[in-house]
């Protein structure tokens, strides 16, 4: 069933952790909450889990209002950042915990535990205590434990952030694979944009307790609505445009856009800026001077100054060693009309 959150607001004393948050999590999808530290991701997750009570707003599972259902009866699985396995119980006992709470029969429990340990490839660790397992193994057990009682929603709060890079990479793929295989509706909190881009069907970008934008990775990258989203996902050049609504131009150059502009802030992704050969044309053409070239192996990052607007530096990329693009070199840059993004 879909999860629908409407108008959620939560204050801690004088700090507003969430203000009027609304979003939809479609059944079977993986949604990431992405945002900088302190933006309210954990709070939102905990409110959905029922571990924290919202000041206003509704949480709907399908058509059922969950606001008055206590956390332990919501039948949601949660994986915390770290160290939440019961230290006195073995891996198998941890996985069985939720089943015992639901009074499953012994044989059913045993079967389900084996199935879950198999799912996370840790059948051989069943009798180990958490302290005897690595961080990555502990998180896998935590995932198995959360999934064992057939939760209707899986909630993950930065499940990978305590792990080192290599394990994190591995587990990312594994979580996604398990999620797709079981088709379980999942919400994951992260502040790592790569994690979100790689795993999510839907990304919800949060900032200061508000939803900035929600959508697929592709939609957020291609059509960011705000400067915050554009800068948070990938990198972007921003320009201030004069007379956006009537006669948009950047410095001395008139701009051709695919849609009329609404705001005066314009974004251009570095890879959308092309170095034009002599005689080659583009929707928007700028004369520019290279200021700095940083060689990064597979590409070179170039900083340039536009003649039309010398006060607004621009960064773009060239693939490979980019011979001849050394500082001081003058060149023409082209940007397609559709690559000029209107940012609120």
């Amino acid at each position: 069933m879909d999860i629908r959150v409407t108008g959620l607001t939560k204050n801690f004393g004088s700090t507003t952790a969430l203000s009027d948050v609304s979003l939809d999590v479609p059944e079977g999808s993986l949604t990431c909450f992405l945002g900088p530290s302190g933006c309210g991701k954990t709070t939102l997750l905990r409110v959905i889990a029922g571990l924290e009570e919202a000041d206003a707003g509704q949480i709907l599972l399908g058509d059922a209002d969950l606001s008055r259902t206590p956390a332990r009866d919501r039948n949601f699985g949660v994986v915390f950042q770290s160290y939440s396995l019961f230290p006195n119980l073995t891996a198998a006992q941890n996985v069985a915990y939720g089943l015992e709470c639901r009074r499953w029969s012994k044989p059913d429990t045993r079967r389900r535990v084996a199935e879950m340990l198999d799912l996370v490839h840790l059948d051989d660790q069943r009798d180990k205590l958490p302290a005897q397992m690595s961080g990555g193994q502990q998180q896998r057990i935590a995932i198995a434990r959360a999934l064992a009682p057939h939760p209707s929603l899986l909630l993950l709060d930065e499940p990978l952030s305590a792990l080192d890079a290599k394990v994190r990479e591995e587990l990312r793929q594994e979580i996604r694979a398990i999620q797709q295989r079981l088709g379980i509706t999942t919400i994951m909190v992260t502040h790592d944009q790569n994690e979100a881009l790689e795993m999510a069907d839907q990304i919800v970008v949060l900032n200061g307790g508000k939803v900035e934008q929600a959508g697929s990775a592709r939609a957020l990258y291609d059509r960011p609505r705000t400067r915050f989203v554009a800068e948070f996902i990938g990198s972007i050049n921003t320009f201030t445009v004069q007379d956006p609504q009537t006669d948009p131009h950047l410095g001395t150059v008139r701009l051709r856009t695919s849609e009329p502009l609404k705001s005066s802030t314009l974004g251009v992704r570095p890879e959308a800026i092309k170095v034009l050969d002599d005689g080659q044309e583009a929707d928007n053409v700028f004369a520019a001077t290279i200021e700095k070239a940083t060689f990064l192996g597979n590409m070179t990052v170039l900083h340039a100054r536009l003649e039309a607007a010398p006060d607004q530096p621009v960064v773009f990329e060239a693939h490979g060693p980019a011979d001849g693009l050394e500082p001081g070199r003058k060149l023409r840059l082209g940007i397609a009309a559709g690559d000029l993004k209107d940012l609120a």
């Binding site: 939720g98 059913d108 079967r111």
Partner: protein, 564 residues
């Protein structure tokens, strides 16, 4: 998944509101029970003292206070109490500071032995110090009888010395903890700036431990002011306020005047507790996670001097139980020193009954005390009910009430036909509750601290998996907490075995406990039997410590503190 399992899973899903009310219900019920118990066994007795002190023949008023304050004897006793306590507190803290310093900051050999020996006074009723001192330095003591001295220990000096020995371990525990934390970087900076050891001690060590010193002074002072066992045994004609309550109440049945002195005794204890709390809350931020622990450098001269000191202190602390043991094993101290076990026959009074009463009471106190302290800590820490605030205040209140005053409060409150719990008066059950609430503060703090260390994410994980508060407690919290709780149990057991002043007013012939027997035997001049009784108490306490240590060792929980 099988059909049965599926229905089970669904059942979990559909139990919605009742579960909420049942968890909430458990929280409220437990809070209410804890609050009720505290009202009956803590607030009511204290209130009874206050009310009784204001109760005069002419109706409520300050008449009793006026009578007491107009009596010059009261002021003499007050001065006696203050001077003797000030002296013993100063002595205990200075001696314990040096001792703790030697153990924490130098390479004195045999540290574990040195540490355990000075704990001996905690294993026996306070008055064993006075007993031992009399056997050593009294009229019939070893020094006068066998070594030809002519000492007179009775009176002021005897009480001061006995209380010094009795309060030394309390001071040592506090100061040892204060000296255990040190940031090596500060010491290294001081050395690099050219400070010599004497200056470093004055400018770094002493300031860093001044809160510990203040706390130790307060604790030892309140212990001395309110102790009456030593004063009665070794004081001779020298009386203090604590002995005066005893005389007024037991000797003359003047409850109102006893209550007045009780209120007076409450004052310094409360003041020093308040100050201690304020001071210890400032102690916190001394160590940061960046601190580098101090390692002890080799220094032969220092180690030699401090070893000399430590072993001298150790000999004194061994001499007291040693001489008491000797007295218990001879025919008639000091006239017939032939070996004999006859004092262990306990053929006087009620025989061994007080001893078994004590063991029973101490075990029950441990069981009930651990339960009550743990539940209170959970109620305050984990349940957010309207009662949590008042409970957390009441839970630590008893640490400011002297045992004797609380005991008197119990008599006034429960020996009252109007009290529906009047039938508890004269039973061991009431004594058990008295011990539980007398020691509640410290046990509660230990339990709360350990609870706080158990991450709240375990509770949340359990909740999300569908576990209720009861299941979470028994499946997760208790298995993590039991070694600490066993330690709390030992603490209750020890205190219940040795406390004298708290129960002195509640004793009836049927509910005699061992510590009171020692007092009565000593009072009657049955020196050898009193010594034998003391030895039995110490043996039981030490046996309990050893057994629990063994259990913890077998369970792999080695770092639990048992002596507090």
């Amino acid at each position: 998944m099988s059909g049965a399992a599926r229905t089970a899973a669904r059942r979990g899903e559909s139990r919605s509101l009742p579960a909420l009310t049942s968890d909430r219900g458990i929280a409220l019920l437990l809070s209410a029970i804890m609050a009720g118990l505290m009202l009956v066994f803590l607030v009511m007795p204290v209130a009874a003292i206050l009310l009784r002190s204001l109760d005069t023949q002419a109706g409520p008023g300050l008449g009793n206070f006026a009578v007491t304050f107009a009596d010059p004897r009261f002021w003499d006793l007050l001065v006696n109490s203050l001077t003797v306590s000030l002296l013993s507190s100063t002595l205990a803290v200075s001696l314990a500071y040096l001792y703790a310093y030697a153990l924490q900051r130098s390479n004195v050999p045999l540290k574990p032995l040195l540490r355990i020996v000075v704990m001996m006074p905690l294993f026996a009723p306070s008055l064993v110090q006075a007993q031992g001192l009399l056997l050593l330095l009294g009229r019939n003591g070893a020094f006068n009888r066998f070594l030809g001295f002519d000492l007179d220990i009775y009176g002021f000096w005897g009480v001061a010395l006995a209380n010094t020995l009795y309060t030394f371990p309390y001071a040592f525990l506090i100061l040892s903890a204060a000296l255990a934390v040190a940031d090596a970087r500060v010491y290294e900076s001081a050395t690099m700036l050219g400070a010599r050891p004497g200056r470093i001690f004055r400018t770094v060590t002493l300031p860093a431990t001044r809160y510990g010193i203040a706390a130790a002074v307060f604790v030892t002072f309140s212990l001395s002011v309110t102790d009456f066992g030593n004063a009665i045994v070794i004081g001779g004609n020298f009386s203090v306020l604590a002995t005066e309550i005893y005389n007024k109440v037991i000797g003359q049945g003047q409850f109102a005047l006893g209550a007045v002195i009780g209120v007076v005794l409450l004052a310094p204890a409360i003041v020093s507790k308040l100050l201690e709390k304020r001071i210890s809350s400032r102690q916190q931020a001394q160590m940061t996670d960046k601190s580098v622990p101090l390692t002890t450098r080799a220094n032969r001269m220092r180690d030699l001097v401090l070893s000399g000191y430590c072993y001298a202190v150790m000999i004194v602390f061994l001499a007291i139980p040693g001489i008491v043991a000797t007295a218990s094993f001879v025919k008639l101290w000091p006239y017939n020193m032939a070996f004999s076990l006859k004092h262990y026959a306990f053929d006087v009074q009620n025989g061994t009954e007080p001893l078994w009463n004590s063991v029973y009471v101490a075990l029950a106190t441990a069981g009930l005390g651990v339960t009550i302290a743990t539940v209170s800590a959970i109620v305050v820490q984990k349940f957010r009910t309207p009662l949590s605030g008042p409970l957390s205040f009441l839970a630590i209140l008893p640490s400011s009430i002297p045992g004797m005053v609380l005991g008197l409060g119990y008599v006034l409150a429960f020996n009252n036909p109007a009290n529906p719990l009047n039938m508890m008066y004269g039973t061991l059950a009431l004594i058990i509750f008295l011990y539980v609430y007398y020691n509640h503060a410290q046990a509660f703090l230990i339990a709360s601290t350990s609870l706080k260390q158990i991450s709240s994410s375990f509770d949340e994980a359990s909740t999300m998996l569908g576990g209720g508060v009861v299941r979470t407690f028994f499946k997760v919290t208790l298995p993590l907490l039991w070694p600490t709780l066993l330690g709390v149990g030992v603490f209750f057991f020890m205190r219940a075995m040795v406390s004298l002043s708290a129960v002195i007013f509640l004793i009836t012939p049927e509910t005699q406990v061992a510590a009171v027997s020692v007092l009565q035997l000593a009072d009657r001049g049955a020196v050898n039997q009193a010594a034998a009784f003391s030895m039995c108490i110490m043996a039981i306490v030490i046996a309990c410590l050893l057994i629990v240590r063994l259990v913890l060792w077998l369970a792999g929980a080695k770092s639990v503190t048992l002596i507090r």
